[in-house]
C-alpha cells in the first residue's frame, strides 16, 4: 500500500520530532563551525596574500590567486568532512525511520549497495566503467514482492578536449530490482528513445539494424513508442511481458517522475533505473529539519520508490508465479 503524506506528517511530529531536535542542534553547530572557518580562512588568505606581496615572493595577482585557491580548497575539505558526519546522522535519524514507517519489514543499510553482478545482469548499461559506487541499500518484501534498491553512481574515465582525465557518468540515480509478476525466459530492454525522437524514421531504421541489444520490438502503444525503444530476444514473449496495461503504467510513471527511465526484464525480474543528477538521500545543510517541508521531498521520493510495486502491479502475480 502506498504510504500517505498526511499520516507521515503525524508520525513526523509525534515520533521523529524529538530526535530531530538533536539533529537540528548538530546542524546549527556545523553551520556555526563553517561560518567560523570561512571567516578564519578569509583572514588567513588576506594575510597570506599581503605577506607574499610584501616580501615580493609573488606578483600581486599570483599571490591573490594562490591564497584564494588554497583557502577555497581547505574550506571544501572541511565542508565535506562536516557534511558527511551530518549526512550519516541524518540517514540514521530521518531516512531509516521514514523507510520503516513505510514498511517496517524493510531493511536499510547506509553503506551497502546493489552488487555489480546485479548491475550487469540488468543489461541496461552496456558501457564499460571504472568506478562503481552505491549506498543506501533498501531490501525486503513489499506486498509479497522481493525488492532491492539503492542510490547508484557508475562512472568511467574519459579524456576531455584538453586531454585531461575526467570522470563521466555511465549512470547516476535510483537502481531498483524486483520480482516480476510473470515467469519468462527471454529478456526485454526498454530504453529512452533518443534516436527516433531526434532523427525520426531514420532513427527508427538505425535502431532496427542495431542488433547489439537484440531484436527491435515495435509495440502497439503509440504513447509508449514515442518515449521508449524496446529490444528483446523473443517477439512474442516481449509482448507477453509488456502487456498493454503495463505499457500504460510505464507511460504514466514516466510522466509522473519526468526523469530518464530505463527498464529491463531478465530472469523473471524487473530492473528499473531512474536517472538523477544528484544523490538521492542526502540532506541539505541550509534547511532546518524542524520544518516538515524540508523532509517532504525525501518522503515523496521514497513513497514513489516503494510505490513502484503497486504502480506496476508487481504484487498481482499470475498463477504460475504464485
Amino acid at each position: 500500500m502506498k504510504p500517505r503524506l498526511a499520516s507521515f506528517m503525524d508520525y513526523y511530529y509525534e515520533t521523529m520530532y524529538p530526535s530531530l531536535k538533536i539533529l537540528e542542534a548538530k546542524r546549527l553547530q556545523i553551520l556555526a563551525t563553517l561560518k567560523k572557518m570561512a571567516l578564519m580562512l578569509l583572514i588567513s588568505a588576506t594575510l597570506l596574500c599581503f605577506f607574499l606581496v610584501h616580501n615580493a615572493i609573488f606578483l600581486p595577482l599570483h599571490a591573490f590567486l594562490l591564497s584564494a585557491m588554497s583557502s577555497v580548497l581547505l574550506f571544501m575539505f572541511i565542508y565535506r568532512h562536516e557534511c558527511s558526519a551530518y549526512g550519516a546522522l541524518f540517514k540514521d535519524l530521518v531516512i531509516e525511520p521514514m523507510i520503516h514507517f513505510m514498511d517496517s519489514s524493510l531493511r536499510y543499510s547506509q553503506m551497502s549497495s546493489m552488487r555489480e553482478d546485479e548491475f550487469h545482469q540488468s543489461e541496461l548499461f552496456v558501457e564499460s566503467y571504472d568506478r562503481f559506487l552505491g549506498h543506501d541499500l533498501v531490501s525486503g518484501m513489499i506486498d509479497g514482492v522481493d525488492v532491492r534498491f539503492c542510490d547508484l553512481h557508475v562512472e568511467k574515465k574519459v579524456r576531455d578536449n584538453n586531454d585531461k582525465e575526467v570522470w563521466d557518468d555511465v549512470f547516476q540515480g535510483l537502481f531498483f530490482v524486483a520480482d516480476f509478476n510473470k515467469s519468462f525466459h527471454s529478456k526485454v530492454i526498454v530504453l529512452p528513445d533518443v534516436a527516433e525522437r531526434n532523427f525520426g524514421v531514420l532513427g527508427s531504421w538505425m535502431q532496427g539494424i542495431n542488433k547489439q541489444r537484440g531484436e527491435l520490438i515495435k509495440l502497439d502503444h503509440v504513447e509508449f513508442e514515442k518515449f521508449f525503444v524496446v529490444y528483446g530476444s523473443d517477439q512474442i514473449e516481449s509482448r507477453y511481458i509488456l502487456s498493454p496495461a503495463l505499457m500504460e503504467r510505464i507511460v504514466q510513471f514516466h510522466a509522473k517522475t519526468k526523469k530518464p527511465l530505463y527498464l529491463s526484464f531478465v530472469d523473471s525480474k524487473m530492473y528499473l533505473a531512474l536517472h538523477y543528477t544528484k544523490p538521492l538521500f542526502e540532506p541539505i545543510l541550509r534547511h532546518s529539519l524542524l520544518e516538515f517541508d524540508s523532509i517532504k521531498a525525501h518522503f515523496e521520493l521514497l513513497a514513489m520508490i516503494v510505490g513502484i510495486v503497486s504502480e506496476f502491479k508487481l504484487n498481482e502475480k499470475l498463477w504460475s508465479k504464485r
Binding site: K182, K218, L219, I236, R239, P244, L318, W319
Partner: protein, 185 residues
Amino acid sequence: METLLIVIGILLLILVFMYNTLISKKNQVTTIFAGLDAVLKKRYDLLPNLVSSVKEYMVHESITLEKITELRTKALTNTLPAGETIALDKQLSSMLGTLMVSVENYPTLKANENFLHLQATLNELEEQISAARRAYNQSVNDYNNAVEMFPTNFMAGFMRLERKEVFSIPARERQNVDVKNLFQK
C-alpha cells in the same frame, strides 16, 4: 562503360536488398505464426480437461461445450491455413468467454479446486495468446507495408507476394487488463 557498370551494380544491389527485405519480413510472419500456433495448441490441449471438469456442473451449457469440442477437433485434425486458424481462434475465444461468464451461475463449480486451477492456466494462456496475436499483427503489418509501399511493391508483385490478414484484437484485450479481476471471475 565504367559508369554503366557501376549503375548496374548499384541497381543489382538495390534489387538484392529489396528481395532480402521482403523474404525476411515474410519469414518473420511465418516464424511468429508458428509461435502463435504453439500457444494456441497449448490451449487446445487444455480444453478436454476443462470440458470434462465443467460438464457435470454446467448442464445448461451443453451446446456451448459441444461447440468448443467441435472447434477443437476441427483445429487439430487439419493443417489449417493462417486465415482459418485466425477464424477458429476468434470463434473459440468468444465461446470460452461466454463459458467463463456462465460460470458465475454455478457456485459449486466456482469452488472446485480443479476447475480453478484450469481457469487460472487458461487465463495465463489467454495472456500469451494475446501477446502472440499482437506480435503476429505487427509482423503482418510490416510485411504488408513492404508489399504495398514503393519501391518494394514492384518486387513483391514480381515475387507474387500478397497482403496477409491480421487478427482483429478483441476490444477487451485492448483495455488495461486487471489481473486481480481475472482471478475473481
